[in-house]
Amino acid sequence: MMNIIVCVKQVPDTAATIKLDPTGKSISQENITYVLNPFDEYAIEEALQTKEKFGGEVTLVTMGPDRAEEALRTGLAMGADKGIHITDPQLAGTDFFGTARVLAAAIKTVPHDIIFCGKVAVDDNAGQVGPQIAELLGIPQVTAATKVEIAEGGASAKVNREIEGATEVLQTSLPAVITAEKDLNQPRYPSLPGIMKAKQKPVQKMTLADLGLNPAEFGSGASKFEITSMAMPSKREGGRIIQGDLPVAVRELVKLLHEEAKVI
């Protein structure tokens, strides 16, 4: 039996067109569809497979506005058992370490033998929250896992992780935080009965006060960062098609790469 936790975040669809709002400091929410962070799908799948092997319960934890509950429902439809949704007006603009503190506090309220996170959230691109939760809980971590084999009894695990030019095989004691890389597994799709059942599954709402945290330490006022502006990527002068017969065009390309771009 294992108590398995998965931290999930709701993010804009990766295909969404990003526009800035009038302040120029954040993105416009218009026409954005929100999805489960892609890396969190791998985290959930690993949690479900762990439960299938060892028995136990999968609890999803999210921090975010009301709409973030949709991310929990998606995970519940995949097969997770219950959700914790930390939502509090004071949380808007909380920085990464603040997020990790909130999530760690929520995780402490439930038994936890293993915690899965995504490698990175594709919106803020931080890759901080997993290791920071591990530090706050005082447990080990393995980031960017591509394979997890939990030992019989659940006291340790063998985890593969991708590093530059190699795969590392690590042995870690449990409980630990493991962050999921894309290669970890093949996430299942929620089934229709799964989606129906998910509507009935319990989601516990919590505020900062419920977690015994001081609201003054969270939100944009307490953040250690200030976004002063957002810049769109510089327009590339693309679209220069080299015309002509293929052998001629290829010769021209090599010449340009050598003499003009000076990259070869």
Binding site: A15, P131, E135, T167, F225, G238, L253
Partner: protein, 329 residues
């Protein structure tokens, strides 16, 4: 050294990694702009000679040398680095957003309650404070982030974001060898084995030239002409997600939002349509070349040079032309 800029360097097999030179270059620029001293730290086992090398860059060099640091582990390196930072009280710790930096720095920052701006593509000093550029939303926009407050700050910078420049004159730094007091029982996670990638493979995130193939290669066999081109260019091989999901290439080859973010001098995309999630991984490449038989493929909007052609004809011709060019040089 209170108030200094501390650069966390990386080594492999006793050699300084390229990312270290990149971050040292940035560190020198930032410390000069801040009017602060520059120091460097390197960890490992039997790495004393590196102290000398780093003394060319930094006024103080800390060599954390211990058998327990022979291979990178989160626990060992966290303890050693956190202790050093606590003792030395730098203002800013800079490191690379490599697999090691991404694992280690969030944890050290949490332990020391510092602020961490991670995966930055740039860092500069404005009005005496630090402003980082953070690519967000899949490289669709770049947040300019000011680091607030007086506390300890950490910044990790992506590989290839900085062009490394060797110091003009050696800094003549002082080298301190430190036993970090890491005990075997501190390591709750240990490395059982390191399985090297396919022989001679150049790591994508470190490569100057990348040749990537997409679904247009039609499979394992078809991918060969992309690999031949890569070999001729001494380039790393990349792939789109379609290629990885089809099982033609391992995930470690994938470029994009759920793969690797790369920033080479030259990126050649063959048979890749240019989906937004692929662009997220390569749009900061200096020069982009696209080979695609569909003139409407979105990749052409981004590419500096495009050839509309069948890749099975274009790639071998390109390989041949490059061979000729090399023969002339």
């Amino acid at each position: 050294m209170a108030g200094e800029v501390l650069v966390l360097c990386e080594q492999a097999d006793g050699k300084l990694k390229v990312i270290s030179n990149e971050i040292l270059t940035k560190g020198r620029e930032i410390s000069t702009a801040l009017g602060a001293g520059l120091s460097a730290v390197i960890a490992g086992s039997g790495i004393e000679p590196l102290g000398q090398e780093l003394s060319n860059w930094a006024g103080k060099v800390f060599v954390l040398d211990s058998l327990q640091l022979a291979s990178y582990t989160t626990d060992g390196y966290t303890k050693a680095l956190a202790n050093l930072i606590t003792a030395q009280q730098p203002k800013l710790v800079l490191c690379g957003a490599s697999s090691q930096g991404r694992d280690l720095i969030p944890r050290v920052a949490a332990k020391l309650k510092g602020a961490l701006a991670s995966n930055c593509s740039d860092l500069r000093v404005e009005n005496g404070g630090l402003v980082a550029t953070r690519p967000v939303y899949g490289e669709k926009t770049y947040a300019q982030v000011a680091l607030k407050g007086e506390g300890l700050q950490f910044v990790s910078i992506r590989p290839k974001a900085v062009v490394p420049i060797e110091p003009e004159a050696p800094a003549g730094g002082q080298v301190f060898k430190i036993d970090p007091n890491v005990a075997p029982e501190d390591l709750r996670t240990s490395v059982v084995e390191t399985i090297k990638g396919a022989g001679g493979m150049i790591e994508l995130t470190e490569a100057d030239i990348i040749v990537s193939g997409g679904r247009g290669t039609k499979g394992d066999e078809g991918f060969k002409c992309v690999e031949d081109l890569a070999r001729e260019l001494n380039a790393a091989v990349g792939a789109s997600r379609s290629v990885v999901d089809a099982g033609w290439k391992a995930h470690s080859f994938q470029v994009g939002q759920t793969g690797k973010v790369v920033s080479p001098q030259l990126y050649v995309a063959a048979g890749i349509s240019g989906a937004i999630q692929h662009l997220a991984g390569m749009r900061t490449s200096r020069v982009i070349v696209a080979i695609n038989k569909d003139p409407e493929a979105p990749i052409f909007k981004l590419a500096d040079y495009g050839i509309v052609a069948d890749l099975f004809q274009a790639c071998p011709l390109l390989t041949e032309e490059i061979r000729k060019l090399k023969a002339q040089q």
